[in-house]
Amino acid sequence: MAYSDKVIDHYNNPRNVGQLDKASTEVGTGLVGAPECGDVMRLQIRVNPETQVIEEAKFKTFGCGSAIASSSLATEWIKGKTVSDALEIKNTDIVKELSLPPVKIHCSVLAEDAIRAAIGDWKKKNGVSEPAAVAAAQSAH
């Protein structure tokens, strides 16, 4: 199967690889995995407490090219967005941008999950409660 040029670009030059201080209250960490392929993805955000804008986003992904490209693109997209705008990003947007084939759609789902998990963690730390988010987080345990 051939990867699209955009996937290859993100794979060769991944944006925003790295780590943020997990202990900081401004930082939210999302760790998600895809049991189907054994991929694991960590996505972190640093949110400005005044503006709720995501000022920094970092990721580290162990997985295939599509998983790396999906998380790289996700960090690019959420940077500069407010938390609520970042939650609007759908995995289908990632699929479209990267032209992912059907067997790789789960990589984009993983990236969307990672964004939600990171924002969820940040909200939990900062006492922002949203009924839907809380319910989703609870059902995950």
Partner: protein
């Protein structure tokens, strides 16, 4: 993709027109070879559908049928029969390989029973929503850490460094994940038994457990493979 066909639906033999159920490679009436049946692998090999399989019976039936459908025996038969002997042989080989291997068999039967497993189904359940309950959460943190260590190890290797602390840690991790893998296999066996002897409700529960165990197993298998590769490099 798998087609699950009701084997009770009879098909007429092309040669003698007598109806037979569509799981047989040879007409029970006139013994003529039949086109590849649409039935499942268990029916093709005359086995009861179940996760625990009598491997001796599987072996015997496979060899018996293989000899019967062997293309050499149809060298002078008409074109259709020649083609069918090839197709039947291919089907038989697929069926045998799938049912003989415990993991292939488990995945195959779960799919027959309608469970969604494998990469193509990932994250597509519940209308495209990913199902968080399927991620082995207890493993994630460990998997991530181990991957970090593996990367460090590869980097150290590439610069000719030998980090014995790191290496020992990986050897220990490998042992640990191997024993977790063995535990998963043991659990799978327990579920096989539960399914084979259980009623419909017990089977559904069992199928769910098996899908989760297979997910966990895939994770662990990849980890063991990666650690082994890195240590052996």
């Amino acid at each position: 993709m798998l087609k699950v066909i009701d084997s009770a639906v009879p098909v007429a033999c092309w040669a003698c027109s007598v109806a037979h159920n569509d799981s047989t490679l040879f007409c029970p009436h006139c013994s003529k070879i039949q086109p590849p049946p649409e039935s499942d692998y268990f029916q093709v090999l005359g086995l009861q559908r179940g996760f625990q399989v009598d491997l001796d019976a599987l072996e015997r039936e496979f060899h018996r049928l293989s000899r019967k459908v062997h293309p050499d025996r149809f060298a002078r038969a008409d074109e259709n029969e020649r083609q069918w002997s090839l197709a039947d042989t291919a089907l038989l080989n697929d069926a045998y390989r799938t049912l003989k291997d415990p993991l292939f068999r488990t995945e195959y039967l779960l799919k027959l029973e309608g469970a969604e497993i494998g990469e193509e189904h990932a994250g597509k359940d519940r209308k495209g929503q990913s199902d968080p309950s399927r991620v082995p959460a207890d493993l994630l943190e460990e998997v991530f850490e181990l991957n970090m260590q593996l990367e460090e190890m590869r980097m150290a290797r590439s610069t000719g460094e030998i980090d014995s602390v790191l290496e020992n840690g990986l050897v220990l991790a490998k042992k640990k994940f191997e024993s977790l893998l063995a535990a998963v296999d043991l659990d799978l066996r327990t579920e096989w038994k539960a399914w084979d002897t259980g009623d419909a409700a017990a089977r559904k529960t069992s199928e769910k457990s098996m899908v989760a165990l297979l997910d966990r197993r895939r994770y662990l298998r990849n980890l063991v493979r990666d650690v082994t590769e890195t240590l052996g490099a």
